[in-house]
């Protein structure tokens, strides 16, 4: 299983060279740290999927002594591992450029990443190869675009929710969000495993 996670590094050696300038670009442009954390976390796991949507890759992985459950587990655990590494690298870069960020930025960035991963990973198993990367990229852009109007809409019209959030303590809020995201992630893991086990290659 560890081998499957390590595989991503071997596979993406070259892309990793782009990774650093990519983050630096975000930092120099003065993008909010939350977004930088989110984008840097997305980089490796979603690149892996770009490889794995090919039928040949699945034939190879499934012919090697791995179970299908392990292959999916490596993706979900790998996403977390690479998220942590990416956040580490990004933090160092931010630090080097003397830009301030808070633990909250890290928490929100990684939370959003896990949510995004949890929502999109099963889609990779449903959509036909070739389309999925486009679908994900577009949905990511749309999500980013509509997130702000949506939040202000909720703030204005659904006062019950905002009141609840405003009244809850910061700790309760973070814990609640963390638990909710974790639940989404675990459910997504389960769904993807079930779909993947029924697939034919």
């Amino acid at each position: 299983m560890f081998n499957l996670i390590r595989r991503d590094v071997i596979l993406q050696k070259r892309q990793l060279i782009i990774f650093i300038p990519f983050i630096l670009f975000f930092i120099i442009m003065g993008v909010p740290p939350v977004l930088t954390f989110l984008v840097s976390s997305i980089f490796i796991p979603f690149n892996t999927y770009a490889y794995d949507e090919k039928a040949e890759t699945n034939i190879l992985l499934n012919s090697l002594p791995y179970t299908r459950a392990e292959i999916i587990a490596s993706r979900y655990l790998g996403a977390i591992v690479y998220m942590i590494l990416s956040i580490g690298v990004t933090s160092l870069a931010l630090f080097a450029f003397n830009q301030s960020f808070t633990i909250a930025d890290v928490a929100i960035g990684s939370g959003l990443f896990l949510l995004f991963a949890g929502l999109t990973f099963p889609l990779f198993q449903i959509f036909k190869p070739g389309y999925i990367t486009t679908v994900i990229l577009i949905s990511f852009v749309i999500l980013t675009l509509i997130a702000r109007p949506m939040i202000s809409f909720i703030a204005e019209h659904l006062t019950a929710i905002t009141d609840f959030i405003a009244n809850a303590s910061i700790l309760a809020l973070y814990t609640g969000a963390a638990l909710a995201i974790l639940t989404v992630y675990v459910i997504s893991w389960g769904i993807t495993t079930i779909i993947y086990q029924r697939k034919a290659f």
């Binding site: 595989r7 596979l11 499934n62 012919s63 002594p65 791995y66």
Partner: protein, 288 residues
């Protein structure tokens, strides 16, 4: 004699094609050639053996084990070679080895480099720059480097030039010196099998027509030639398929004794090649 692979009543249905209930045994320590025209169900059967596809019904056992409970243990002992390149095409052989090797408990680095040298494979060039023959050699090097007991190959000789095809067949024979090893490979180039196969499994239209030793195939099947006047509805029963021409008929039989009893010396009998068997079986309504 032990069976390495056992398929019992296995079926698989697709929208426009189905594998009928088949029973297939692959014997340990031998080379079994798997023949049939394109679309006969060979690849489907091989994929089911590798658990890439699940059968709709029936039972598949490899090394006497079930995929449901022993998937990893089974695959540890299998080496696989597929028709196309399944390795990441942007990677070089060294990186592919880095990805594949840790998956196997019995991976043998020294052996791998021995094959790399033998096949003259470049370690630092991307797979996509390899010729078809080199890709096949690379797949083989990977498949052979973890002391697999069973080697499953789907059309390994397709698209290879005749010289390398012979080299490959020679290599397979060399591998068999180690007596426990089993090789199962599909091909539609039947002359490959005349050289090395011990058993022949023949599939057609989703049916397994036979799975016999080369010796039995030669004993059971024959090409029969004779005058048209010998044929009638009864005598035709002895043939799998009859082809008529103005000069006489040529037919394939799977029952040499019956033909001898019916026709005696009036017909000419020749050894049927695998290609003859495939060709005539396709044209005829087989009556078993």
């Amino acid at each position: 004699m032990e069976n390495v692979v056992e398929l019992k009543n296995v079926t698989k249905k697709f929208k426009d094609f189905s594998v009928k209930p088949i029973d297939l045994q692959v014997k340990q320590g031998f080379i079994t050639g798997f023949i049939g025209e394109n679309g006969a169900g060979k690849s489907t059967t091989i994929k089911m053996m590798m658990n890439l596809l699940r059968p709709d019904a029936g039972e598949i056992k490899v090394f006497g084990l079930d995929y449901r409970t022993h998937e990893k243990a089974i695959k540890q002992r299998i080496g696989f070679v597929y028709d196309g390149n399944v390795f990441f095409e942007g990677l070089n052989l060294k990186d592919i080895k880095r990805i594949v090797a840790p998956a196997y408990q019995r991976w043998d680095d020294a052996l791998f480099y021995q094959y790399v040298e033998k096949f003259q494979l470049p370690l630092n060039k991307a797979m996509k720059t390899f010729s078809k023959g080199m890709q096949m050699k690379a797949s083989l090097a990977v498949a052979l480097s973890h002391h697999a007991e069973l080697i499953i190959m789907d059309e390994p000789t397709a698209g290879l030039d005749p010289i390398f095809r012979r080299e490959l067949l020679g290599l397979l024979q060399e591998l068999m010196i180690d007596g426990d090893r089993t090789i199962f490979f599909s091909t539609h180039i039947t002359t490959d099998l005349d050289r090395i196969a011990d058993y022949i499994a023949f599939m057609q239209g989703g049916n397994l027509v036979f799975n016999q030793s080369v010796h039995d195939v030669a004993e059971n099947y024959a090409l029969v030639k004779g005058g048209l006047d010998l044929l009638d509805r009864d005598t035709e029963q002895a043939f799998v398929h009859v082809q008529r021409a103005s000069t006489g008929f040529e037919a394939l039989t799977d029952n040499i004794q019956a033909v001898k009893d019916i026709f005696g010396d009036t017909v000419l009998m020749e050894r049927a090649s695998l290609e003859d068997i495939m060709y005539y079986s396709k044209g005829g309504v087989s009556h078993v």
